[in-house]
């Protein structure tokens, strides 16, 4: 792990985020650790309320400080502690070193300024002295908006959803970020458009050698984009590892159940095993293992004692008391 830590562009150590104060404080993210290296795509998977977006927003301290506090842990970007940065340094970090692409392009764009104006603004703030018109053209072409002159003059509402999201990606790239945080960037788009926008995102990620944290609830997308995957449930990372390993031999019962709950396009129509119950909210995370009320393998210990993070040497880790036995049981079942 040590060498990976030294090289990591982003390193999050034992991060906890809470909303509210005193005995009404609710810990939404609880002890999350991970890293993203330059040029690497890491997927963060989870359902609504799992804490994935809060984790993402805290990376550049975008959460409103009046209501959300980083209650523990540290975030290192290129070796510097983000929590200790001055406002001045934070302004440089946001949009310059770390850029975001969110789900709703219309919410990320200002409706009363043209696309060109909004991209030039980023260039003016983060890359003074550059030939802005040439760079604007380069950025729009890089995201597949080839009709540069027309798009630059357009206002957000004059573009389709797919074009808007491409414009947002161009804006995110304008500051030459080293880390791109993409929070459900294609969820609001139609499938065919989703595939195009995803290709654009991966193309520019490779071309610029950026690190990317890709947040999604769609396991199919994970297989397509990420080298590594982190699975979040109820504010904690419950499983992590290479995408192939996690999707092929999931260790945590939640990951296993999630994979079985998704209907497949090919193959027979075997009955889906839904996960019983509902995703718990942060104010009433269950005691012990947070997944135990919904877990098919739960035993008495699961409701009493919270499982610790069980990492096996490399980047693979799981938060479950019984994952080894469950894995052996599955092997036996298969034979």
């Amino acid at each position: 792990m040590v060498s990976a830590v030294q090289r990591a562009l982003l390193e999050v150590r034992d991060l906890s985020v809470q909303f509210g104060t005193g005995n009404r404080a609710v810990r939404v993210v609880d002890g999350v650790s991970f890293s993203v290296a330059a040029g690497e795509v890491v997927a963060l998977v989870g359902e609504s309320g799992s804490g994935k977006s809060v984790t993402a927003l805290s990376l550049a301290r975008l959460l409103p400080e009046a209501s959300a506090q980083i209650a523990g842990g540290a975030i290192f970007f290129d070796g510097a502690d983000v929590c200790g940065l001055s406002n001045e340094a934070l302004r440089k970090l946001r949009g310059g070193q770390v850029a975001y692409v969110f789900q709703e392009p219309m919410a990320a764009l200002n409706p009363v300024f043209s696309i060109g104006f909004q991209i030039r603004e980023v260039l003016r703030l983060h890359r003074p002295g550059i030939d802005r018109e040439a760079e604007l053209r380069r950025l729009l072409k890089a995201v597949g908006l080839d009709d540069v002159a027309r798009v630059a003059k357009s206002f957000p509402h004059e573009l389709s959803g797919g074009m808007q999201q491409r414009a947002v990606i161009a804006m995110a790239l304008a500051g030459k970020p080293r880390l791109l945080v993409a929070d459900e960037p294609t969820t609001a788009l139609d499938v065919t458009v989703q595939a195009q926008v995803l290709d654009v995102l991966l193309d520019v990620q490779r071309a610029e050698g950026m690190g990317m944290l890709f947040i999604t609830h769609n396991l199919g997308l994970v297989a397509k984009v990420a080298q590594r995957v982190l699975v979040m449930y109820a504010g904690q990372i419950v499983e992590a590892g290479s995408t192939e390993a996690v999707l092929k031999t999931p260790r945590h019962p939640y990951t296993q159940a999630l994979l079985k709950a998704v209907p497949r396009l090919r193959g027979g129509g075997e009955r889906l095993d839904g996960i019983s119950g509902v995703v718990p909210t942060a104010s009433n995370f269950p005691k012990g293992c947070r997944f135990h009320p919904r877990c098919a393998f739960a035993r008495e210990r699961c409701g009493i004692e919270a499982p610790i993070w069980d990492a096996d040497g490399g980047a693979r880790g799981v938060r479950c008391h019984f994952w080894k036995e469950i894995a052996t049981g599955r092997e036996a079942g298969r034979r």
Binding site: A195, V222, A261, V262, L272
Partner: protein, 255 residues
């Protein structure tokens, strides 16, 4: 030869926006037999929801007509509106927006029974409990209000409300797209079981092709207001013929 339960004959729907005319549906022909489950797929703007609205009698076609048991929807609405509403029911996409927040779940379900004269006062609570059980909810939930439920539970309540009239046709417009992944399977299983056990005629509108394949016998692909391909679900999704269906399938990221 069975005549189809629902027969969509050359339906066009045009919307006039200023000087422009938008063709939302363009000569759609579709026959659905009793007890069949049909998936309607296509991207936003393809006309899926407009077609659902036409089938529900909420949108009058510009030309063409839809027949239920050989009688046009216009005639049903003029002569036997209540009977038509009983027979064709709808499950909406947004489980948060489709329930009255000020009615307990029990009163919301009882209201449907009362409006359609399907249960006497004395029978009401028993019928409500039965409906809740059908969709896998505890009968005690009748006392609770919509905000006390999760999205998946609300969608079950939406399905129970639609089932209250014992419909023959159930139209579900993106019933799981607003739900968490772990909960989607529960609702898809419920729809599939209801359709099979009760012989419901189900029209499932969805952009999730895998979900459609899981629930439906037949798939209809809409593009730009036209039916571009239709056939058995496994055939269409394994060997798509129309280039649009192919591009739709190619775009789905698979695990």
């Amino acid at each position: 030869m069975n005549s189809p339960l629902i027969d969509v004959r050359g339906v066009c729907v045009e919307f006039n926006r200023r000087a422009q005319c938008v063709k939302a549906l363009d000569d759609v022909r579709l026959a659905i037999s009793r007890g069949e489950s049909v998936g309607l797929v296509g991207e936003s703007g393809s006309g899926k929801t407009t077609l659902a609205r036409v089938l529900l009698g909420l949108q009058t076609p510009t030309s063409g007509d839809v027949f239920l048991e050989g009688r046009s929807i216009g005639a049903w609405l003029r002569n036997e509106r209540a009977a038509f509403r009983r027979r064709v029911q709808m499950v909406f996409q947004d489980p948060y927006g489709s329930l009255n927040p000020r009615l307990s779940v029990g009163s919301a379900l009882a209201e449907v029974l009362r409006v359609h004269g399907l249960a006497s006062r004395a029978e009401e609570s028993g019928a409500v409990a039965g409906l809740l059980n059908t969709v896998g909810l505890d009968a005690a939930y009748a006392e609770r209000y919509p905000h006390e439920f999760s999205g998946g539970q609300r969608q079950r309540i939406g399905i129970a409300r639609a089932l209250a009239t014992q419909p023959e046709v159930l139209i579900a417009d993106e019933p799981v797209s607003a739900l968490d992944v772990s909960v989607q399977a529960q609702v898809l299983n419920l729809l599939r079981d209801l359709q099979r056990e009760r012989g419901l005629t189900l029209l499932l509108i969805a952009h999730d092709l895998a979900a459609v394949r899981y629930v439906c016998d037949r798939v209809v692909v809409l593009f730009g207001g036209r039916v571009v391909e239709e056939g058995r679900a496994d055939r269409v999704l394994e060997n798509p013929e129309h280039p649009y269906t192919r591009s739709l399938l190619a775009a789905v990221p698979e695990i």
